[in-house]
Every structure is written in structure tokens, then in C-alpha cells.
């Protein structure tokens, strides 16, 4: 097998082409129309900004489902601060990101300091934040729908439509992916993430500041989720309180289709990026096909199971035939 199949993003790229071929052959989709459409790209950008930090957390051996509450929380916080209380928009942005940082900090500290799995910890903060956001909004503003009028600069930076159809968050997603790809794959900190996900105890013994790293990763995912909610509120001029829960499984599926191993130590930002595009094309691209959209969940499930099966067999292969002397953190981590 070629070196391509050893890469974590191999299965994601194969899945993407398989889905496109499937839609083109059986769904009669016009690929030109599909690629020109904004709907799936907007969907992918919003999901992708959350999926990348969630995926990096998973490479580090943890999971964060509290993002499902942080998206509406971000939306509501900026609407309350800059809409209801009419504070300057930058105060709202800072307030939103600070709140998310605090939630991420709590997730990180609890995960690092207890033996309870991060799934359970972030499930707890998910429920707390759901309640706090909605009850807080009712208490402060007397309702759960809060309007927000943003100044032009904020509107164009965070919530405008380019060419009338493409959300500006697409650029944020791409920039975010580029920065995190650099940090994860080209810096020492990135190597620490792989080391931590591969073997937490060994990583700590080797001098990796695992507690601080865990906290920073949880803060990153909470802040990214709040950022997505914030951009939505700025774009639609009001807080969007529903719809966060769907992101939980969608983000996990995108990350796993993208070749990240949930048990940690293996994956890439490029893979998560392609996995998110695959997910978006499956779920939104189905509207461009002749296939009844009711089947989209079935296609998502089958794609997920096939992608993880491919990932597993490729990883076994990588383990057997990977270059021996250049034992990177990835190769070490593969043993998990």
C-alpha cells in the first residue's frame, strides 16, 4: 500500500470521493451545481469551526459534548450584552469568549483532576449551561428571544453574506483550520497533544504539562463553539437558542470520519477538515440529488461505520509497515 493510506486523512478523502461518486451516479447530481452551492459550505463552516478543536481534544484522548450548550450560550451572551444592555459590540464579544473560557476551564480542571471520563464531565456542564443560559435570559431580559443590532464593521467581519449566499464564517473556518493545522503538526505543543492522547502517564513522565494542556484544549473547544453561536447572532440579528444539540453528534461524526481515533493519539486537522466537508455534502448535498432526503441519516451512519472500519484497517497497516526509525509521536500513539 502506498504511503497515502498510512495518513490519518486517507479514509476521509476516500469517503468524500465515494459520496460524490454515489450522488453523481445514483442521485443524478450535477457536481458543478453542487460545488457552486452555498448551503453545504455554510453548514460545513459552522460545524467545522467546532469540529476542529473537538477533534484535537479527541486526539488528546478527551471528548467535549458541552459544545452543544456553548453554541446557544455564545449566541445568547452577545445578544444580552450588546443587544439588551446596548454595550459596545467588542464588550459583547469579549464577554462571550470569556464566559466560554470559564466553562472550558471548569471542564479542563475537572477532567485533569478527577478519574471521571470527560464524556460524563462535559455532559454535566452541558446540562448546567443549557439551564443557566435559558433561565438567565428569562431572568435578565424577560424572554428567550433577544434582538441584537451590530455595527457595520462587526456585521461584515462576523456575520455577512459574501455574494449574497456564502457566510463570512467560511473564511474564519479556513483560517482557523490553517492555524490549528500549523500548531498541531508543526509545533512542540502539537506533539504534546499526540503524546498525551497516546499515553497520558508516559507523556506526563516525559515532562509534558498534561494538566495545563488539557485545560487549554477544553478552553479552545468551548470558545470555538461560543464563537459560532456569536457569529450566528450577529448575522441573524437575534440570539439563536435552539439547534446546539445537533452539533454534538455531527461534530463527533465529522471528526471520526476525518480519521481521528477516539481513544487518542492519531488524527490530523486536514482529516477533520475533509471529514466535515464529507458530512456536510452527505447531509446538505442530498437536496441536490434525486434521492429522498429521508435517507440522509442512513447514508451518514453507513459512511461513519465504513470510514471507521477503513481507518482501523489502515491504522493496523500503518503499525505493521510504518517507517521504523522515525518514531514520531503518531507512530508511538498508534499502539493504543
Amino acid at each position: 500500500m502506498s504511503p497515502f493510506l498510512r495518513r490519518p486523512e486517507a479514509a476521509a478523502i476516500i469517503s468524500l470521493f465515494a459520496i460524490l461518486a454515489f450522488y453523481a451516479a445514483l442521485g443524478g447530481v450535477n457536481l458543478g451545481t453542487l460545488f457552486g452551492a452555498a448551503s453545504w459550505l455554510n453548514f460545513a463552516a459552522n460545524l467545522g469551526i467546532v469540529a476542529i478543536p473537538v477533534g484535537i481534544l479527541m486526539i488528546g484522548g478527551h471528548i467535549d459534548i458541552s459544545i452543544g450548550a456553548m453554541i446557544p450560550a455564545g449566541s445568547m451572551t452577545i445578544a444580552i450584552l450588546s443587544g439588551y444592555y446596548e454595550l459596545p459590540i467588542w464588550v459583547g464579544i469579549l464577554g462571550t469568549l470569556s464566559l466560554a473560557a470559564v466553562v472550558g476551564l471548569v471542564n479542563g480542571i475537572l477532567t485533569a483532576r478527577t478519574t471521571v471520563p470527560s464524556l460524563i464531565i462535559t455532559l454535566s456542564t452541558l446540562v448546567v449551561m443549557q439551564g443557566v443560559v435559558l433561565a438567565g435570559a428569562n431572568l435578565l431580559t424577560g424572554g428567550s428571544s433577544v434582538a441584537l443590532t451590530s455595527p457595520d464593521w462587526a456585521k461584515s467581519v462576523f456575520g455577512s453574506l459574501i455574494g449574497g449566499s456564502h457566510q463570512v464564517v467560511i473564511f474564519w473556518w479556513m483560517g482557523f483550520a490553517a492555524i490549528l493545522a500549523f500548531l498541531l503538526h508543526k509545533t512542540r505543543v502539537g506533539n504534546w497533544v499526540f503524546a498525551m492522547g497516546g499515553d497520558l502517564v508516559s507523556a506526563r513522565n516525559a515532562g509534558v504539562p498534561t494538566t495545563r494542556l488539557t485545560i487549554v484544549l477544553f478552553m479552545l473547544s468551548a470558545m470555538s463553539a461560543a464563537f459560532v453561536g456569536m457569529c450566528g447572532a450577529i448575522q441573524f440579528n437575534s440570539a439563536q437558542v435552539s439547534g446546539g444539540m445537533g452539533y454534538i453528534f455531527n461534530a463527533i461524526v465529522s471528526v471520526v470520519v476525518g480519521g481521528v481515533v477516539l481513544t487518542g493519539g492519531f488524527g490530523s486537522v486536514l482529516g477533520i477538515f475533509v471529514g466535515t466537508i464529507t458530512f456536510a455534502i452527505v447531509s446538505q448535498g442530498i437536496y441536490f440529488t434525486d434521492i429522498d432526503r429521508n435517507w440522509s441519516s442512513l447514508i451518514i451512519g453507513v459512511t461513519l461505520l465504513l470510514a471507521v472500519a477503513m481507518n482501523e484497517s489502515f491504522r493496523k497497516f500503518a503499525l505493521r509497515s510504518g517507517p521504523k526509525p522515525r518514531a514520531s509521536a503518531q507512530a508511538i500513539a498508534v499502539k493504543a
Partner: protein, 328 residues
Amino acid sequence: MSFGILARRPETGSLVGLLLVFAFFSVMGGAVFIGAPGWSSWLNIAAEVGIIALPVGLLMIAGELDISVGSIIPASSVTAAVITGYFGLPVFLGIACGLGVGLIVGYVNGLLVTRTTIPSLIITIGTMFVLMGLTLGLAVLIAGSTSVFLVPDPTTKLLLGTFIGGMFNVSIFWWVGFSLVLFFFLHVSPIGNWVFALGGDRVSARNAGIPTAGLTIALYMLSGFAAAFVGILQLMTYQNAQVAAGQPFIFNSIMCVVIGGVMLNGGAGSVVGIVIGTATFSIVNQGIFFSGLDPNVGSVIIGVLLLTAVLSNDGFRALALKYSTKKR
């Protein structure tokens, strides 16, 4: 019982939580909450989520998760409704096929979990999506609608979907029955010890001769069956199967289990704890409507209970280790 034995039990903390929550809502909700309307409202909720939380909790004791229950509930009720309500075949056939869907999905989950190294969270998310798509697609294809009706005969209605005294759903008795059977299974029968061994250390358990693969598959079939059974109970109660129902049960069942002291970190937990956790969850969930508080405060209370359970878990472990090392 000495303080040590009592404090070492994982459900002690959960019981304290239950009593506090009940006392709080008794004060806030007053006579209505303490009377039959209050009891029936939270018991009806507790029965449905509790029947699923029990096997999900057993899986978590064994170190695994099952997300697919959220799709099994509607898959089972839609299957039974299509067979009996739409095609007019006998009701026992509809029920058998509905329960069969749960058993088959559980078997597939168990097989995939034991045959691959893919975490059960991912596998059951995959089967959840597959089953969700199949239910939606086939319901529309066969019955032409996302909602299928079924009017059960009096006997079926009495056994599976009646409100006793107009308030208490018969599902409460089924929940009690499930709890007793699973209590016997986990804490009395020898197989129960295998479940704890599986969650404690899978490799050692297999080396000790425990049929780990068979046991894991059986546990998944149990959770699939329980979810399918709840789907049937809902169908017979509301006489209508919705393809989209069931998603809230995924996290709700896990929350009941966690409040009951099972943390997924393997090898610890009890049926009594899960039942207490389910009751606590349901009292908050329903009590909030009797209390006059903003219903969203209920989420905050449940979240705080979860965090308390998470934080006390390590404390209880330390205590358990401290007391168990001393010989009486």
C-alpha cells in the same frame, strides 16, 4: 451497619441527593406535589427512562456506552404500528417484531464492539444514524407518513398502556419488574460479578475465563430490548408512533445512571443506585413544573447533581479504599 460500610456504598451519596431534592420540591410544590398528581407525574417519566437507564447503566459498569437507544425506541414503535396498525396483523406479531428490532440492533452493536477496536460510543452513534434513517425512510415508503397510528385491543392496552386511576401509567410496574430482575442478575447471580470484572479489567476478565464477547453482546441485546420495550409502551399509551421520538432518552438515561453513581470508569455501580438516580432525575424534571420556578432552573439543578456525583465519586473511592484496607 457501621459508618464505614454505609459510606462505602456507592448509592449513599445518591440517596442523600434524592432526599434533598424531594424535600426541596415538597416545600416548593406543596400539597399537589406530595399528593397523587405529583407522584404520578414523576413516576410516569421515571418508568420510561428508568427501563432504559438500567441496562445502559449495566453497560456503563462494564465500561461501554449505548447511544443507539435513542433510535431503537421509535424504530420499535413504528415497526409495531406499521405491522399491526397499518397492515392490520395480530398485535402480538407487531410487538414481537418491534422487540425483535431492538434485539437485532443490540446484537449488531455487541458484535461490532467485540470484533473491532472501535470505541462503543462511535459504533452506537453509527448504528443510531443508520437506524434513524431506516425508520424514517421505510415509514414514509411503506405507510406514507412519519407518524403511524395503532388502536390496541383492551387487553394489550391494559397490560402495556393504561393509566391506573387515570394517573399512574402501567409502565411503572414494568420498571419495578425490570429493576428486580436486573438486581437479581447483577447482585445475586454469578454472572453479575462478570459484569463488574468486565468493567474493571477486560483482559484479566477474559484470562480468568469469563466469556467477555458473549457477555458484551448479551448486555447490548438487553439495552436494545429495553429501548424497544419502551417504544412499545409509548405506542400502546399514546396509540401513535412518531419516527422522531427518542433522542432525549440518549442523554437522559446516561444522566440517571451518573446521578446514581455509575461513572463509566468501570467496575463500580449498582442497580439500586441507578433506580435512585432515575427517581432523582425525574423528580427534578417534573417537580420544577409544580414549584413555580423557571423550568430551565431544572436543568441547572440536574447539572449540579451530576457535577456533585462526579466530584464525590473520587471522594467515595478514596473513602472506600481507606475503609476496605482495614480489617474488621
